[in-house]
Symmetry: C2
Subunit: 252 residues, 2 copies
Protein backbone atom coordinates (compact mmCIF):
# COMPACT_ATOMS: atom_id res chain seq x y z
CA UNK A 1 0.00 0.00 0.00
CA UNK A 2 1.75 3.22 -1.08
CA UNK A 3 1.61 6.06 1.45
CA UNK A 4 0.92 9.58 0.22
CA UNK A 5 1.05 13.10 1.63
CA UNK A 6 -1.59 15.52 0.38
CA UNK A 7 -0.90 19.26 0.51
CA UNK A 8 -4.25 21.07 0.77
CA UNK A 9 -5.61 24.62 0.77
CA UNK A 10 -8.96 25.55 2.28
CA UNK A 11 -11.12 28.53 3.11
CA UNK A 12 -12.18 27.66 6.65
CA UNK A 13 -15.26 29.91 6.80
CA UNK A 14 -17.81 27.15 6.19
CA UNK A 15 -15.97 24.30 7.95
CA UNK A 16 -16.33 23.19 11.59
CA UNK A 17 -12.54 22.78 11.46
CA UNK A 18 -10.17 20.15 10.10
CA UNK A 19 -11.22 17.29 12.35
CA UNK A 20 -14.38 15.22 11.85
CA UNK A 21 -17.21 16.44 14.10
CA UNK A 22 -20.83 15.48 14.48
CA UNK A 23 -22.06 19.06 14.06
CA UNK A 24 -21.06 19.98 10.52
CA UNK A 25 -18.75 19.55 7.55
CA UNK A 26 -15.06 19.09 8.29
CA UNK A 27 -12.04 19.18 6.00
CA UNK A 28 -11.03 15.66 7.06
CA UNK A 29 -14.42 14.21 6.18
CA UNK A 30 -14.42 15.88 2.73
CA UNK A 31 -10.92 14.51 2.08
CA UNK A 32 -11.93 11.01 3.23
CA UNK A 33 -14.95 11.05 0.92
CA UNK A 34 -13.00 12.25 -2.13
CA UNK A 35 -10.12 9.79 -1.65
CA UNK A 36 -12.45 6.89 -0.95
CA UNK A 37 -14.38 7.74 -4.14
CA UNK A 38 -11.23 7.93 -6.26
CA UNK A 39 -9.68 4.70 -4.95
CA UNK A 40 -13.02 2.89 -4.57
CA UNK A 41 -12.36 1.79 -1.00
CA UNK A 42 -12.73 3.23 2.49
CA UNK A 43 -9.68 5.44 3.22
CA UNK A 44 -9.09 7.72 6.21
CA UNK A 45 -6.55 10.55 6.31
CA UNK A 46 -4.47 11.82 9.25
CA UNK A 47 -3.81 15.57 9.40
CA UNK A 48 -0.78 17.61 10.48
CA UNK A 49 -2.95 19.84 12.62
CA UNK A 50 -6.56 20.24 13.75
CA UNK A 51 -7.36 23.78 12.74
CA UNK A 52 -10.39 25.24 14.54
CA UNK A 53 -13.72 26.21 12.99
CA UNK A 54 -13.26 29.22 10.71
CA UNK A 55 -9.45 29.03 10.54
CA UNK A 56 -8.01 28.91 7.00
CA UNK A 57 -5.07 26.97 5.58
CA UNK A 58 -3.03 27.83 2.53
CA UNK A 59 -0.83 24.80 3.24
CA UNK A 60 -2.04 21.83 5.26
CA UNK A 61 -0.73 18.26 5.00
CA UNK A 62 -2.66 15.00 5.40
CA UNK A 63 -1.40 11.46 4.91
CA UNK A 64 -2.98 8.10 4.12
CA UNK A 65 -2.31 4.74 2.44
CA UNK A 66 -3.78 4.13 -0.98
CA UNK A 67 -4.44 0.73 -2.62
CA UNK A 68 -2.77 1.36 -5.97
CA UNK A 69 -0.31 3.63 -7.75
CA UNK A 70 -1.31 6.78 -9.67
CA UNK A 71 1.48 9.13 -10.88
CA UNK A 72 1.73 11.74 -8.13
CA UNK A 73 1.27 14.76 -10.41
CA UNK A 74 -2.09 13.31 -11.52
CA UNK A 75 -3.52 12.80 -8.01
CA UNK A 76 -4.59 16.45 -7.36
CA UNK A 77 -6.32 16.61 -10.75
CA UNK A 78 -8.08 13.32 -10.06
CA UNK A 79 -9.17 14.27 -6.52
CA UNK A 80 -10.25 17.90 -6.95
CA UNK A 81 -13.42 17.15 -8.96
CA UNK A 82 -14.67 15.25 -5.87
CA UNK A 83 -13.90 18.12 -3.48
CA UNK A 84 -16.04 21.19 -2.66
CA UNK A 85 -15.09 24.68 -3.95
CA UNK A 86 -13.57 25.74 -0.62
CA UNK A 87 -11.05 22.86 -0.43
CA UNK A 88 -8.44 21.64 -2.88
CA UNK A 89 -5.48 19.27 -2.99
CA UNK A 90 -2.56 21.24 -4.40
CA UNK A 91 0.10 18.52 -4.41
CA UNK A 92 0.51 14.80 -3.69
CA UNK A 93 3.84 13.19 -2.74
CA UNK A 94 4.67 9.50 -2.27
CA UNK A 95 6.26 9.01 1.15
CA UNK A 96 8.06 6.30 3.14
CA UNK A 97 5.82 3.72 4.86
CA UNK A 98 6.51 5.20 8.29
CA UNK A 99 5.64 8.82 7.37
CA UNK A 100 2.95 10.49 9.46
CA UNK A 101 1.58 13.94 8.56
CA UNK A 102 0.85 14.35 12.25
CA UNK A 103 3.95 13.06 14.05
CA UNK A 104 6.67 14.03 11.57
CA UNK A 105 6.03 17.79 11.50
CA UNK A 106 9.13 19.81 12.35
CA UNK A 107 7.14 22.99 12.74
CA UNK A 108 4.40 25.24 11.39
CA UNK A 109 4.00 28.83 10.31
CA UNK A 110 0.78 30.77 10.89
CA UNK A 111 -0.14 34.34 9.99
CA UNK A 112 -2.80 36.26 11.93
CA UNK A 113 -4.12 39.26 9.95
CA UNK A 114 -5.72 42.35 11.48
CA UNK A 115 -6.94 45.33 9.48
CA UNK A 116 -7.30 48.65 11.10
CA UNK A 117 -9.99 50.90 9.65
CA UNK A 118 -12.71 53.20 11.04
CA UNK A 119 -15.33 51.14 9.14
CA UNK A 120 -15.70 47.49 8.13
CA UNK A 121 -14.30 46.54 4.70
CA UNK A 122 -16.28 43.53 3.45
CA UNK A 123 -13.61 42.45 0.93
CA UNK A 124 -11.03 42.16 3.74
CA UNK A 125 -13.24 40.67 6.47
CA UNK A 126 -13.14 37.08 5.24
CA UNK A 127 -9.40 36.64 5.90
CA UNK A 128 -8.63 39.35 8.47
CA UNK A 129 -9.98 40.62 11.80
CA UNK A 130 -11.34 44.16 11.83
CA UNK A 131 -10.38 46.71 14.49
CA UNK A 132 -11.62 50.29 14.34
CA UNK A 133 -8.60 51.86 16.08
CA UNK A 134 -5.08 52.43 14.81
CA UNK A 135 -2.51 50.01 16.24
CA UNK A 136 0.99 51.10 17.30
CA UNK A 137 2.84 48.64 15.10
CA UNK A 138 6.33 49.70 16.23
CA UNK A 139 5.48 48.68 19.79
CA UNK A 140 4.02 45.40 18.52
CA UNK A 141 7.31 44.66 16.72
CA UNK A 142 9.30 45.17 19.92
CA UNK A 143 6.91 42.95 21.89
CA UNK A 144 6.94 40.21 19.23
CA UNK A 145 10.69 39.63 19.64
CA UNK A 146 10.22 38.37 23.23
CA UNK A 147 8.32 35.24 22.15
CA UNK A 148 11.20 33.47 20.39
CA UNK A 149 12.78 30.50 22.17
CA UNK A 150 11.59 27.78 24.52
CA UNK A 151 9.13 28.97 27.18
CA UNK A 152 6.29 27.69 29.30
CA UNK A 153 3.37 29.17 27.36
CA UNK A 154 0.67 28.30 29.94
CA UNK A 155 -0.44 31.97 29.83
CA UNK A 156 -1.17 31.50 26.11
CA UNK A 157 -3.25 28.34 26.29
CA UNK A 158 -7.04 28.14 26.26
CA UNK A 159 -8.70 25.84 28.76
CA UNK A 160 -9.52 22.45 27.30
CA UNK A 161 -6.10 21.43 26.00
CA UNK A 162 -4.93 17.96 27.03
CA UNK A 163 -1.16 18.37 26.66
CA UNK A 164 1.37 16.89 29.13
CA UNK A 165 3.43 20.07 29.19
CA UNK A 166 2.81 23.68 28.23
CA UNK A 167 6.45 24.24 27.23
CA UNK A 168 6.82 25.01 23.54
CA UNK A 169 9.59 26.29 21.25
CA UNK A 170 8.79 29.33 19.10
CA UNK A 171 11.13 30.06 16.16
CA UNK A 172 9.98 33.63 15.63
CA UNK A 173 7.11 36.08 15.86
CA UNK A 174 7.31 38.85 13.26
CA UNK A 175 4.95 41.81 12.88
CA UNK A 176 4.59 43.50 9.47
CA UNK A 177 2.46 46.40 8.29
CA UNK A 178 1.12 46.87 4.77
CA UNK A 179 -1.23 49.86 4.43
CA UNK A 180 -4.03 49.18 6.92
CA UNK A 181 -3.18 45.46 7.22
CA UNK A 182 -1.08 44.19 10.13
CA UNK A 183 0.35 40.67 9.79
CA UNK A 184 1.54 38.68 12.81
CA UNK A 185 3.64 35.74 11.63
CA UNK A 186 4.21 33.00 14.20
CA UNK A 187 6.55 30.10 13.46
CA UNK A 188 7.24 27.34 15.96
CA UNK A 189 7.74 23.62 16.58
CA UNK A 190 4.30 23.00 18.03
CA UNK A 191 1.46 25.01 19.56
CA UNK A 192 -0.98 24.86 22.46
CA UNK A 193 -4.74 25.15 22.04
CA UNK A 194 -5.55 28.67 20.68
CA UNK A 195 -1.94 29.73 21.30
CA UNK A 196 -1.47 31.72 18.08
CA UNK A 197 -4.80 33.53 18.49
CA UNK A 198 -3.84 34.44 22.10
CA UNK A 199 -0.37 35.64 21.03
CA UNK A 200 -2.09 37.76 18.34
CA UNK A 201 -4.55 39.12 20.91
CA UNK A 202 -1.70 39.96 23.28
CA UNK A 203 0.19 41.81 20.54
CA UNK A 204 -3.03 43.64 19.67
CA UNK A 205 -3.23 44.76 23.32
CA UNK A 206 0.35 46.04 22.97
CA UNK A 207 -0.70 47.93 19.83
CA UNK A 208 -3.57 49.47 21.82
CA UNK A 209 -1.33 50.46 24.73
CA UNK A 210 -3.01 48.04 27.17
CA UNK A 211 0.21 46.02 27.65
CA UNK A 212 3.74 47.47 27.46
CA UNK A 213 6.18 45.69 25.10
CA UNK A 214 8.74 45.27 27.87
CA UNK A 215 6.14 43.52 30.07
CA UNK A 216 5.84 40.55 27.68
CA UNK A 217 8.60 38.49 29.43
CA UNK A 218 6.68 38.86 32.72
CA UNK A 219 3.39 37.92 31.08
CA UNK A 220 5.04 34.75 29.74
CA UNK A 221 6.72 33.94 33.08
CA UNK A 222 3.49 34.46 35.04
CA UNK A 223 1.87 31.42 33.33
CA UNK A 224 -1.44 33.16 34.05
CA UNK A 225 -3.95 33.18 31.19
CA UNK A 226 -5.51 36.41 32.48
CA UNK A 227 -2.24 38.35 32.05
CA UNK A 228 -2.23 37.71 28.26
CA UNK A 229 -4.58 39.30 25.72
CA UNK A 230 -7.87 38.05 24.34
CA UNK A 231 -8.25 35.09 21.99
CA UNK A 232 -8.83 36.74 18.61
CA UNK A 233 -11.54 35.29 16.34
CA UNK A 234 -10.70 32.52 13.83
CA UNK A 235 -11.20 34.30 10.48
CA UNK A 236 -7.92 36.24 10.86
CA UNK A 237 -5.82 33.07 11.18
CA UNK A 238 -4.27 31.13 8.30
CA UNK A 239 -1.94 28.14 8.49
CA UNK A 240 0.68 29.14 5.90
CA UNK A 241 3.32 26.41 6.02
CA UNK A 242 4.11 23.06 7.60
CA UNK A 243 7.69 21.85 7.79
CA UNK A 244 8.93 18.27 7.29
CA UNK A 245 12.22 16.63 6.49
CA UNK A 246 10.88 15.90 3.00
CA UNK A 247 14.23 14.56 1.76
CA UNK A 248 14.48 11.72 4.22
CA UNK A 249 10.75 10.90 4.27
CA UNK A 250 10.01 10.91 0.55
CA UNK A 251 9.75 7.59 -1.21
CA UNK A 252 12.25 7.01 -3.99
Amino acid sequence: MPRIALVCEYDGTEFVGYQIQNNGRSVQEELNKAISTLYKEDIKVTGCSRTDAGVHARYHVSSCDVPFYIPEEKIPLALNPFLPEDLSVKKAIYMCDDFSARFDTLGKKYIYRIYSSPVRQPMKSRYAYHVTYKLDVDKMKVAAAYFAGEHDFAAFCAAGGSQLTTVRRIHHVIVRENDDLVEIEVSGEAFLYNMVRIIAGTLMYVGLGKIKPEDIPDVIKSCERKRAGQTLPPQGLTLEEVYYDWESKCHR
Copy 2:
Protein backbone atom coordinates in the same frame (compact mmCIF):
# COMPACT_ATOMS: atom_id res chain seq x y z
CA MET B 1 -33.37 68.12 2.19
CA PRO B 2 -29.58 67.63 2.27
CA ARG B 3 -28.19 65.42 -0.51
CA ILE B 4 -25.49 62.89 0.38
CA ALA B 5 -23.09 60.64 -1.51
CA LEU B 6 -22.35 57.27 0.09
CA VAL B 7 -19.10 55.48 -0.75
CA CYS B 8 -19.67 51.73 -0.30
CA GLU B 9 -17.68 48.50 -0.42
CA TYR B 10 -19.29 45.12 -1.03
CA ASP B 11 -18.42 41.50 -1.62
CA GLY B 12 -20.69 40.72 -4.58
CA THR B 13 -20.71 36.92 -4.16
CA GLU B 14 -24.12 36.72 -2.48
CA PHE B 15 -25.80 39.65 -4.25
CA VAL B 16 -27.90 39.54 -7.45
CA GLY B 17 -26.05 42.76 -8.34
CA TYR B 18 -26.37 46.41 -7.35
CA GLN B 19 -29.81 47.04 -8.78
CA ILE B 20 -33.04 45.93 -7.12
CA GLN B 21 -34.33 42.67 -8.63
CA ASN B 22 -37.23 40.36 -7.83
CA ASN B 23 -35.04 37.27 -7.58
CA GLY B 24 -32.75 37.99 -4.63
CA ARG B 25 -30.94 40.46 -2.43
CA SER B 26 -29.43 43.52 -4.09
CA VAL B 27 -27.01 46.12 -2.79
CA GLN B 28 -29.47 48.92 -3.59
CA GLU B 29 -32.26 47.30 -1.59
CA GLU B 30 -29.99 46.76 1.43
CA LEU B 31 -28.89 50.41 1.27
CA ASN B 32 -32.50 51.63 0.96
CA LYS B 33 -33.51 49.57 3.99
CA ALA B 34 -30.62 50.77 6.16
CA ILE B 35 -31.03 54.46 5.26
CA SER B 36 -34.80 54.34 5.66
CA THR B 37 -34.32 52.76 9.11
CA LEU B 38 -31.79 55.39 10.19
CA TYR B 39 -33.80 58.40 8.96
CA LYS B 40 -37.18 56.86 9.80
CA GLU B 41 -38.67 57.56 6.36
CA ASP B 42 -38.76 55.89 2.98
CA ILE B 43 -35.53 56.81 1.11
CA LYS B 44 -34.28 55.44 -2.21
CA VAL B 45 -30.69 55.65 -3.43
CA THR B 46 -29.36 56.07 -6.97
CA GLY B 47 -26.12 54.27 -7.84
CA CYS B 48 -23.13 55.20 -10.00
CA SER B 49 -23.24 51.84 -11.73
CA ARG B 50 -25.28 48.65 -11.85
CA THR B 51 -22.70 45.99 -11.14
CA ASP B 52 -23.80 42.49 -12.21
CA ALA B 53 -24.48 39.53 -9.95
CA GLY B 54 -21.24 38.34 -8.34
CA VAL B 55 -19.20 41.44 -9.23
CA HIS B 56 -17.47 43.13 -6.27
CA ALA B 57 -16.92 46.81 -5.46
CA ARG B 58 -14.22 48.29 -3.26
CA TYR B 59 -15.54 51.76 -4.14
CA HIS B 60 -19.11 52.35 -5.29
CA VAL B 61 -21.07 55.60 -4.92
CA SER B 62 -24.80 56.04 -4.29
CA SER B 63 -26.68 59.28 -3.68
CA CYS B 64 -29.95 60.25 -2.01
CA ASP B 65 -31.70 63.04 -0.14
CA VAL B 66 -32.04 62.78 3.62
CA PRO B 67 -34.57 64.58 5.83
CA PHE B 68 -32.19 65.95 8.46
CA TYR B 69 -28.55 66.73 9.12
CA ILE B 70 -26.12 64.29 10.79
CA PRO B 71 -22.37 65.16 10.81
CA GLU B 72 -20.99 63.36 7.77
CA GLU B 73 -18.25 61.47 9.61
CA LYS B 74 -20.96 59.90 11.84
CA ILE B 75 -23.15 58.64 9.00
CA PRO B 76 -21.13 55.46 8.16
CA LEU B 77 -21.01 54.49 11.85
CA ALA B 78 -24.76 55.06 12.15
CA LEU B 79 -25.63 53.12 8.97
CA ASN B 80 -23.32 50.11 9.18
CA PRO B 81 -25.10 48.39 12.08
CA PHE B 82 -28.17 48.16 9.77
CA LEU B 83 -26.17 46.66 6.87
CA PRO B 84 -25.24 43.00 6.28
CA GLU B 85 -21.64 41.77 6.74
CA ASP B 86 -20.90 41.83 2.99
CA LEU B 87 -21.77 45.52 2.51
CA SER B 88 -20.55 48.65 4.26
CA VAL B 89 -20.70 52.41 3.87
CA LYS B 90 -17.10 53.67 4.10
CA LYS B 91 -17.72 57.40 3.72
CA ALA B 92 -20.57 59.90 3.46
CA ILE B 93 -20.21 63.34 1.85
CA TYR B 94 -22.72 66.19 1.69
CA MET B 95 -23.18 67.24 -1.94
CA CYS B 96 -24.83 70.04 -3.96
CA ASP B 97 -28.56 69.66 -4.58
CA ASP B 98 -28.02 68.81 -8.24
CA PHE B 99 -25.45 66.03 -7.62
CA SER B 100 -26.26 62.62 -9.08
CA ALA B 101 -24.11 59.57 -8.32
CA ARG B 102 -25.24 58.22 -11.69
CA PHE B 103 -25.02 61.18 -14.08
CA ASP B 104 -22.02 63.03 -12.64
CA THR B 105 -19.45 60.23 -12.91
CA LEU B 106 -16.38 61.26 -14.88
CA GLY B 107 -15.15 57.72 -15.15
CA LYS B 108 -14.56 54.40 -13.41
CA LYS B 109 -11.71 52.03 -12.77
CA TYR B 110 -12.18 48.26 -12.69
CA ILE B 111 -9.67 45.48 -12.08
CA TYR B 112 -10.22 41.97 -13.44
CA ARG B 113 -8.08 39.37 -11.62
CA ILE B 114 -7.01 36.01 -13.05
CA TYR B 115 -4.82 33.52 -11.22
CA SER B 116 -2.90 30.96 -13.12
CA SER B 117 -2.27 27.69 -11.30
CA PRO B 118 -2.42 23.96 -12.18
CA VAL B 119 -4.95 23.48 -9.34
CA ARG B 120 -7.70 25.57 -7.77
CA GLN B 121 -6.69 27.72 -4.75
CA PRO B 122 -9.79 28.21 -2.59
CA MET B 123 -8.40 31.30 -0.81
CA LYS B 124 -7.96 33.09 -4.17
CA SER B 125 -11.14 31.92 -5.91
CA ARG B 126 -13.53 34.37 -4.30
CA TYR B 127 -11.95 37.44 -5.90
CA ALA B 128 -10.12 36.02 -8.95
CA TYR B 129 -10.85 33.73 -11.90
CA HIS B 130 -8.87 30.49 -12.03
CA VAL B 131 -7.12 29.29 -15.20
CA THR B 132 -4.98 26.14 -15.21
CA TYR B 133 -2.57 27.28 -17.95
CA LYS B 134 0.22 29.84 -17.83
CA LEU B 135 -0.62 33.13 -19.55
CA ASP B 136 1.89 35.03 -21.70
CA VAL B 137 1.66 38.29 -19.78
CA ASP B 138 4.13 40.18 -21.99
CA LYS B 139 1.84 39.65 -24.99
CA MET B 140 -1.15 40.72 -22.90
CA LYS B 141 0.63 43.97 -22.02
CA VAL B 142 1.24 44.76 -25.69
CA ALA B 143 -2.39 43.98 -26.56
CA ALA B 144 -3.74 46.08 -23.68
CA ALA B 145 -2.20 49.28 -25.03
CA TYR B 146 -4.45 49.20 -28.14
CA PHE B 147 -7.65 49.79 -26.13
CA ALA B 148 -6.89 53.36 -25.01
CA GLY B 149 -8.80 56.15 -26.75
CA GLU B 150 -12.26 56.58 -28.25
CA HIS B 151 -13.48 53.57 -30.26
CA ASP B 152 -16.67 51.86 -31.29
CA PHE B 153 -16.61 48.95 -28.83
CA ALA B 154 -19.52 47.03 -30.40
CA ALA B 155 -17.29 43.93 -30.51
CA PHE B 156 -17.01 44.18 -26.70
CA CYS B 157 -20.69 44.47 -25.84
CA ALA B 158 -22.98 41.66 -24.70
CA ALA B 159 -26.42 41.44 -26.31
CA GLY B 160 -29.11 43.10 -24.20
CA GLY B 161 -27.59 46.56 -23.80
CA SER B 162 -29.92 49.44 -24.61
CA GLN B 163 -27.36 52.16 -25.38
CA LEU B 164 -27.79 54.71 -28.21
CA THR B 165 -24.16 54.33 -29.31
CA THR B 166 -21.44 51.77 -28.73
CA VAL B 167 -18.68 54.40 -28.89
CA ARG B 168 -16.81 54.73 -25.59
CA ARG B 169 -13.61 56.42 -24.37
CA ILE B 170 -11.09 54.22 -22.54
CA HIS B 171 -8.38 55.98 -20.50
CA HIS B 172 -6.11 52.98 -20.17
CA VAL B 173 -5.90 49.22 -19.95
CA ILE B 174 -2.89 48.04 -17.92
CA VAL B 175 -1.81 44.44 -17.32
CA ARG B 176 0.27 43.61 -14.22
CA GLU B 177 1.64 40.31 -12.89
CA ASN B 178 2.26 39.50 -9.25
CA ASP B 179 3.34 35.86 -8.69
CA ASP B 180 0.54 33.78 -10.17
CA LEU B 181 -1.97 36.66 -10.17
CA VAL B 182 -2.60 38.68 -13.34
CA GLU B 183 -4.43 41.99 -12.92
CA ILE B 184 -6.16 43.71 -15.84
CA GLU B 185 -6.92 47.32 -14.89
CA VAL B 186 -9.45 49.09 -17.11
CA SER B 187 -10.17 52.79 -16.66
CA GLY B 188 -12.64 54.67 -18.85
CA GLU B 189 -15.40 57.26 -19.04
CA ALA B 190 -18.24 54.76 -19.36
CA PHE B 191 -18.72 51.12 -20.29
CA LEU B 192 -21.03 48.91 -22.35
CA TYR B 193 -22.79 45.87 -20.91
CA ASN B 194 -20.14 43.27 -19.88
CA MET B 195 -17.46 45.34 -21.64
CA VAL B 196 -14.74 44.92 -18.99
CA ARG B 197 -15.32 41.18 -18.71
CA ILE B 198 -15.09 40.84 -22.53
CA ILE B 199 -11.90 42.96 -22.67
CA ALA B 200 -10.47 40.70 -19.94
CA GLY B 201 -11.54 37.59 -21.87
CA THR B 202 -9.94 38.96 -25.05
CA LEU B 203 -6.67 39.67 -23.23
CA MET B 204 -6.81 36.16 -21.76
CA TYR B 205 -7.10 34.81 -25.33
CA VAL B 206 -3.99 36.86 -26.19
CA GLY B 207 -2.22 35.32 -23.18
CA LEU B 208 -3.20 31.86 -24.47
CA GLY B 209 -2.00 32.59 -28.01
CA LYS B 210 -5.52 32.44 -29.49
CA ILE B 211 -5.41 36.10 -30.59
CA LYS B 212 -2.23 37.97 -31.61
CA PRO B 213 -1.58 41.29 -29.80
CA GLU B 214 -1.25 43.15 -33.11
CA ASP B 215 -4.69 41.90 -34.21
CA ILE B 216 -6.49 43.82 -31.43
CA PRO B 217 -7.02 46.99 -33.57
CA ASP B 218 -8.74 44.81 -36.22
CA VAL B 219 -10.87 43.06 -33.60
CA ILE B 220 -12.03 46.48 -32.34
CA LYS B 221 -12.65 47.82 -35.88
CA SER B 222 -14.62 44.72 -36.89
CA CYS B 223 -17.39 45.57 -34.39
CA GLU B 224 -18.13 41.84 -34.36
CA ARG B 225 -18.70 40.25 -30.96
CA LYS B 226 -17.43 36.88 -32.20
CA ARG B 227 -13.97 38.30 -32.99
CA ALA B 228 -13.39 39.23 -29.31
CA GLY B 229 -12.76 36.79 -26.45
CA GLN B 230 -15.19 35.19 -24.03
CA THR B 231 -17.05 37.04 -21.28
CA LEU B 232 -15.14 36.05 -18.14
CA PRO B 233 -17.15 35.17 -15.01
CA PRO B 234 -18.13 37.87 -12.47
CA GLN B 235 -16.06 36.87 -9.42
CA GLY B 236 -12.83 38.15 -10.99
CA LEU B 237 -14.20 41.68 -11.44
CA THR B 238 -14.01 44.48 -8.87
CA LEU B 239 -15.07 48.11 -9.28
CA GLU B 240 -12.09 49.88 -7.70
CA GLU B 241 -12.75 53.60 -8.19
CA VAL B 242 -15.37 56.06 -9.42
CA TYR B 243 -14.32 59.54 -10.45
CA TYR B 244 -16.24 62.77 -9.81
CA ASP B 245 -15.43 66.42 -9.77
CA TRP B 246 -15.76 66.34 -5.97
CA GLU B 247 -14.53 69.92 -5.55
CA SER B 248 -17.33 71.54 -7.54
CA LYS B 249 -20.06 69.16 -6.42
CA CYS B 250 -19.40 69.09 -2.70
CA HIS B 251 -21.62 71.15 -0.48
CA ARG B 252 -19.86 73.87 1.50
